[in-house]
């Protein structure tokens, strides 16, 4: 018996306006796995994250994306989120006047509604938030502060992982979550992600550097270059890349336009 992959991307072509950025990506992610997507700047990493999450600036011109066997390409970003796609943003936005607690509550209740669950009672919700904040060593005062407003880079990233913990996604995409983090924040964020890993979910880590992968150890590493996955392997591939640099890949792969 074969199991349906959690995420199945087949020959995905996508771009912005008339420029094709992803030129035929195929990727299979099973539940319980961690995949790292590595690549130099401009290779299409962030585009891939945005297309998975359904950002409407990008046009998908070919291929398919399915989540648990369900085609999600035609779904709105919010429907994909409700189906279990979560993206930790490279640059989380600030929303003045909307407290972190209120924002997260709104999101969680939407998810629950989608899953046919009753809204959480305020007391239960607060207890849940307190529990999940501990995962990323976030202090409670952040709950009443406006979402990400005046947060440091590290605090914003911890807030992303806190939201991931609250929403319990099937598929978490971490888009350059390590950028701008000092070593302590990096450890906290990574430990949070590790604590959330289970046999039922999967994580796709998008990163430029190997550093984060010391903490979130991937089962598979894929190297993205010029809109294609040019090499896949185990976690050793990340070390090899770190050692040899991306030029190694660039020189080996034919650069076509």
């Amino acid at each position: 018996m074969t199991t349906t992959p959690l995420l199945q991307i087949t020959d995905l072509h996508a771009g912005i306006e008339d420029r094709e950025i992803l030129k035929g990506i195929s990727l299979t992610v099973n539940a319980g796995e961690v995949h790292a997507i590595m690549g130099p700047n401009g290779s299409g990493k962030s585009t891939m994250a945005s297309v998975l999450a359904g950002r409407e600036d990008y046009q998908v011109t070919g291929g398919t994306i399915s989540l648990n066997g369900k085609d999600i390409l035609e779904m709105s970003p919010e429907d994909r989120a409700r189906e279990g796609v979560f993206m930790a943003f490279q640059y989380p936005v600030e929303i003045p006047g909307v407290s972190t607690a209120n924002f997260v509550k709104t999101a969680v209740q939407e998810m629950r509604k989608h899953r046919g669950l009753p809204p959480l009672e305020p007391a239960a919700f607060l207890a849940l938030m307190r529990e999940k904040m501990k995962l990323v060593e976030m202090e409670q005062q952040f709950l009443s502060r406006s979402l990400n407003e005046g947060f440091s880079g590290g605090e914003k990233k911890r807030n992303e992982i806190f939201q991931m913990a609250m929403l319990e996604p099937a598929l978490a995409i971490l888009d350059e979550t390590d950028s701008g983090l000092d070593i302590d924040a990096l450890r906290i964020v990574a430990e949070g992600v590790n604590a959330l890993r289970s046999k039922d979910n999967a994580v796709v880590v998008i990163t430029h550097y190997q550093r984060l992968l010391n903490y979130i150890v991937p089962d598979f590493v894929h190297v993205l270059w010029n809109g294609r996955i040019v090499r896949s392997g185990g976690k050793e591939l990340a070390y090899e890349l770190e050692e040899k640099g991306y030029d190694w890949i660039k020189n080996e792969s034919p650069a076509e336009v």
Binding site: P77, E78, M87, P96, G97, N102, H114, S146
Partner: protein
Amino acid sequence: MQTEQTALDDVVQGDYKYGFESNIEQDVLPKGLSEDVVRFISAKKEEPEWMLEWRLKAYRHWLTMNEPRWPNVAYPKIDFQDIIYYAAPKSMPTLNSLDEVDPELLATFAKLGIPLEEQKMLTGVAVDAVFDSVSVKTTFQAALADKGIIFCSMSEAIREHPELVRKYIGSVVPPNDNYYAALNSAVFSDGSFCYVPKGVRCPMELSTYFRINARNTGQFERTLLIADEGSYVSYLEGCTAPQRDENQLHAAVVELIAHERAEIKYSTVQNWYPGDKNGKGGIYNFVTKRGICDERAKISWTQVETGSAITWKYPSVILKGNNSIGEFYSVAVTNNMQQADTGTKMIHMGENTRSRIVSKGISAGKSQNSYRGLVKVLKKARNARNFSQCDSLLIGDRCGAHTFPYLEIANKDATVEHEATTSKIGEDIMFYCQQRGISAEDAVALIVNGYCRDVLEQLPMEFAVEAKKLLAISLEGSVG
């Protein structure tokens, strides 16, 4: 694939849910304005001679004035002879109980959600409802009378409390103050009157609902609120109108008098019909609101303005007494083709006077939203302080936000601070919210409510809830 712009547009295209019309027999005067019309209105209301003279003087002055052209709004010239100046539900007997009210009228108010019914007594809201030109029913008069509080229609006040009306009417907004105030003074049909005696704290929120129903009718209500020494009152007004293709004029005057140590809190949720997406129809809302503070008195204006094709209003405070306080909290939303030019004037005359202005403008669609505010500190106003915060939020890239702050400071002790920000609900924020499972529509509501929080929390609880819903409805279909 759907673009972000469309997703946002979808959010904004909501229908005006107050756009129904009631079929009530109306007593309507033919179109047009003349001394005879003024006399007719006065006679219809069985007014004393002095009131008629006051109206006529205002009318004659109005004839010499010109329509203001300085606001940042554009509209065709109004033909003042093409307006009906008096429309009233037929046969207005003195109403002793709700049973005597025309059921159709009650149904209208029920649709509006006005707490006229007896059970609303539990919520502690006293209501005066002005339907077209006439005040229909004032609840809780007896409960208020126990405290010596007078809360009734303007017409009744002129009959029953002429000494108070005569003393205060026009004392804050004189009949010759401006074009629309003069017009209102000549033809005002009704409105609310309130007097809170010395040292009395009004035990409930007082509330007036204004409804324009008749066709081609102008509404000119006049509200006069007097808080005597050391008293307190919180007053709310709400407004709706049917959906019509033609523009209708609403030119109201509100005067507040806060005597020594008195406090008046005046909240407005304005939801006149804004016109359709292409700018057809809608109310022209040209309103003069002003209050005056004696020593240590405080006046606080809070407004949530979502309706009207054009809004032109500047609720102001004259800080005459030493140590008096003026506040203005405003949310003004414009969508589609709406235009708003609104703000406040804080006139510091006394020493140690303080004022605070918090204005939140939200523009969507192709609308234009202007904040216009004056902070004036007179020579004698030692240690006057003002803080102003004017924020603009743009939704989409076809709308406009403008800020016209005027500062006239004649005393070097004054401390005047002005902060302004402009922000935009952009694709990044929308996508972030959507990625968390929040629909575009809910995201806009969430963001806008957060943005307006400082103002909304000034409203009494139940009205804050209503205002939040209204904000969401007004912006349905708008982001980009």
